[in-house]
Symmetry: C2
Subunit: 349 residues, 2 copies
Amino acid sequence: LHESIYDVLALPLPERELIARIRSHVSRSGGRPRPHPGPSTSILVGIGDDASVLRFSKDRDFLVTTDFSLEGVHFRRDWHPPESVGHRCLARGLSDIAAMGGDPIAAFLSLALPAKLPQRWVDGFLEGFLSLARRFNVPLAGGDTAESPAGVLADIVVVGSVRHSPTSRKSGEKWGTAVLRSGARSGDRIFVSGQLGGSAAALAVLRSGKRLNPKDFPRHFFPEPRIDVGRALREKRIATSMIDLSDGLSTDVSHLCEQIGFGAEIWQNSIPRATIGKGRQVDLKYALHGGEAYELLFTAAPKTHVPSKIAGVQITEVGQITRGRRIILREASGATAKLEPRGWEHFRS
Amino acid sequence: LHESIYDVLALPLPERELIARIRSHVSRSGGRPRPHPGPSTSILVGIGDDASVLRFSKDRDFLVTTDFSLEGVHFRRDWHPPESVGHRCLARGLSDIAAMGGDPIAAFLSLALPAKLPQRWVDGFLEGFLSLARRFNVPLAGGDTAESPAGVLADIVVVGSVRHSPTSRKSGEKWGTAVLRSGARSGDRIFVSGQLGGSAAALAVLRSGKRLNPKDFPRHFFPEPRIDVGRALREKRIATSMIDLSDGLSTDVSHLCEQIGFGAEIWQNSIPRATIGKGRQVDLKYALHGGEAYELLFTAAPKTHVPSKIAGVQITEVGQITRGRRIILREASGATAKLEPRGWEHFRS
């Protein structure tokens, strides 16, 4: 299943390998990021989580995340109205902050525009962007502009913060209270917010050549970042680990398991599928592998009480962290099969 | 003089107008960025300075800057070796932090690569990037990767910090000690670091079709960000305002004057011109309008002692802030002429 918007071309390195290569260069140039000698800031979490975590003061950590939105890769101008492109651009960054349990503080936008882009398009983009920013009280505080050699190119930076609570200090947690991908343990239960597959199903319709009315497919065109859900999961100390579902459930579970060195079992029947059109549930493949859901996947310790709704959003248990490293899908029949990461991955041939 | 690397195409809005439009959208969506209600962070400086300033804790401010490096706009793969592209990518961000008098803390890199880019190119880029990062002790702490629809696309985010000194609190300065563009007053003297025009002169040679040996033109291929100069100017409270010279002296002076509502007089004979080749001084036009110098321009009060060298870099007085709004060039003959901003501006037709 290739749910990337464009057919992905052969590239020298798939994305995961590119990131691994960058990491290896970084480590050759002096090992793990060290605490900075001058100003007392240390990089608690660098490459490899939804956002980086900087310890900037005694009682607060600082989150930074960056995400591209490139025409022809993450959106198409003939499929997505400019308001949707602007909204999705910021939503990608906010969703990463949500996955750390953080509060967004400010956004920075680098925007390169091609020659002869209609001014109306730029205004629509900004309207979509700033309307979401307003609702989350995230000021647009800077960025860069440039001429683009090809298509609209945006890169969003969202800066957020996590205040350390006294309980986190008491329990001696090393990373303060930002919820990392790496906190899950064998036996932890796996949950997701909302319904899955709605965005990918809409994309499949677009790929078939049909136009869609954005209002009928809000989860694709105007996804709501789960800031309140993420914050509650952190503040109430429910989540032991968390990741945002941007690449697809199967791929994001594999990202999480990679970090912890455990495996997982996902229960096919439990996956909450989105409904589109006349209340029809989306096909399983969209819920399992479809990207850009911008929901949260998190784990909780076996005895932790997890409400069925948080901040108005449905929470569903969908599986469990297991010993070993296998990731399996328990199908409706009870049979199990290896769950391959078949969600969005850039650069995949 | 068009010292942009590519001939710039007609775009709906030149860059300055685009930024003004973004600002007007931002202001329609709720006025100036407000202090954030939740976490106690306020945006002290938003769009319009070299970096944004966030007040994150009582005794320190936080700087954020983002800069594109786009193939065909900011560099060309047939002109610039990958090590130079990686170096310049990070140098752009570090130079912005220098212009605030800040210390860089961490870098975040969004990198989109086209299909079939040789792996050697990626390794060279990372080597150039990380070798500069190492020298300034700036860890690469995160970012994003994607497939590029056209050419190599990089966006660099550098985060920095400025510690408030007790003297700054005593004097009741509103913005702490980050040096802003807006602090200059009529009568302040104008200074620049280093020599100007070397990068633009090298670019002119490249445009003429000749290849250059990067080692002979370090200021173009491997510009050194003036972090130590900027920090000293802030710590010793020498600079009343500061901007980095990335667009060209004439244009950057106009940016500065725009912020303060004053004018300026620049003394042609005093401008320190770079030497290239066999000790030949570059043409005046490169020193006056050429972009990507990555030196600092700052102002100091009339009675402030300004050393002729700071952190090993030559400091030269080149003019004065004046009443009114005119920006003039005092020529060698003593005659004055209006100084038009003719440096790099994206999008200019």
